[in-house]
Amino acid sequence: MIGLIILLVYVAIFIVSFLIVRFLVQKTTTDYTALKTVTFGDESAVTSNRVASVVSVLTIFLIWGSFTGSVLIPRFLHAPGPFVGETSFTYTIETPEGARDDATIFVRVMGFGEETVKFEVPPGDGIAKDDAVAMPASRSTTIIYDKNDEVTRKDGARLVAIDGETIGPDIALNTDVGRFALTEKGAITFAPPKGLQMEPIWLPPPEAVVGRVIEIANDGYRDSTLWKHLGYSLFRVIAGFFFGALLGIPLGYAMGLSNWFRGWFEPIVEFMRPVPPLALIPLVIIWFGIGETGKIILLFLASLWIMAISARAGVSGVNITKVHAAYSLGASKIQILRNVIIPNSLPEIFTGARVAMGVCWGTVVAAELVAASEGAGMMIMVASKFQLTDIVLMGIILIGVIGFGIDILMRRLENLLVPWKGRS
């Protein structure tokens, strides 16, 4: 239900912002693509609209803030929150003799994060006596209304109405105050209006997550600072990738240059390539335990095949006329390997490295989810056991940011080192 509303809001923002930007803000584009009469299917004419990207990110934060009652966004943008505060309703009982009497129940609904403290009210007169109940927002509570009444359910009394409206074992009630129903034994279950906001335990507001980042950055979590957790994960990725590349690239070259190597390693590489690294985690834990060695070996295996395959493809992909040209310019085999085959394979290897880094980053987090004493994955796994959703979210966001950062870095490096990629 809430999910559907969020989806509708999201789609609405998408459409409205598109219309606004399209017809009001960016009416006149004067670059060269604007002169093209045919842009459909022309990839160079389809670029990412920066405004759309910014609005997209803002929208996510807006919806997140709105449906969690964040203090970062103005109140009028909040989705209706759960009822918080004081409310009351009257109930009517009927004794076995047929006599009826009313009493009032005062309910104090506490906001998220507030403690529920019991309180007292004067009982009043009549057979039924007034009660006081404290409860957290967005929940339901069972009210034993007759513990102070003169005639109780044990004596045969029945609850017949709430706020004057009939209620019974089969009749639930929905009023402005909230939802009422009777339990099997005849007590009242009461739920004040929940509103549309998420409870922090499902989705904490952005500021709570930011607060956690600061808190954990300063004080640490599980004996390690945030930077140490992330540093451990990064270190494992870099070490695993380093060894994977160190072995995988020469292996790929050998496979690209020698029939024997190709024949020998092809079955192994082709078999290992489709095995997801995650499937190796249990075996690696059995063999090497949950320490650093096991993790680095896992990431080594994750990157090894990718690097070997991309190096092999880089070698096989060399244009034979380049090799012929080098030969007739008098180059020796070794010189051709160094000056033609290796540089020619670099773009392919870089593509492989980018893929491998991505896979390694995903694998390390998964491995830490399973077993680790430090690391980004471990942090969110432990936090989830204690329902610390803000830490879980923080971890996910940081993992995403770092993964993104790694990819950008690799692309920069690629532009710097193999500028001819895709341009020959």
Partner: protein
Amino acid sequence: MSGLSIENISMRFDLPNGSSVQALKNVSLHLKPGELMSVLGPSGCGKTTLLNIVAGFLAPTEGEIRMNGHTVTGPDAERGMVFQQGALFEWMDVRGNVSFGPRMKGENEAHWGANVDHLLDVTGLGDFKDKAIYELSGGMQQRVALARCLANDPDVILMDEPLGALDALTREKMQGLVLKLWKETGKTIILITHSVEEALLLGERLLVMAPRPGRIHKEYQLPFADMGVNADLREVKQAQGYNDTREEILEMIWDMEEEIMGRTEDQK
């Protein structure tokens, strides 16, 4: 004997499906040092195959190539090659490409620097020394390929449609450049082309090949290349005999093409 001898070369490709293609049959000819020979022929008559055998990239099934008296067994710096495209090294700049041969010989820059810079100037690439290959136009890239080949100082230059990918204007300029460099350096050149005009203008000797099996059909001795060294190529085209020879060769190749087409149609 000095020069390049192609002695009774035959080449048969055995295909995986058991059949075979006779790409060349009993091809023989001799090139004296400093001769420029252009090769024409319908598509598939074995021109590239012949050039690859001379370059040493392919071993012929019969016959041998002799270069200044010794038998050719593989590629060597004495026989340079200019490809149609895609043979430049993108990871080196223009100067790096042109100096590739001398550098591979282990010579230091003091030795080759002046010659390389001279060749860059001659080919009009002086201002583009430090440019990356992918920043150059197609015509400039072919000039780099030509300069790279010359910088290595081969005895024979083999060109497989070196100007095939260029536009008409650039092509004409490059034809002039080839002639100029030929006269200046005195290299032996074999030039494969699909353009009859180009073959006439550049070929001191002109070889017409016929297909199935690939063989020499007819050979011409032409005066136009020598004229072109000192004159505008467009004037050469007005020279006596140019048009007649062109028509004759065009008709010859046209007939061969037609025969091929007819044959493939029969097979259907």
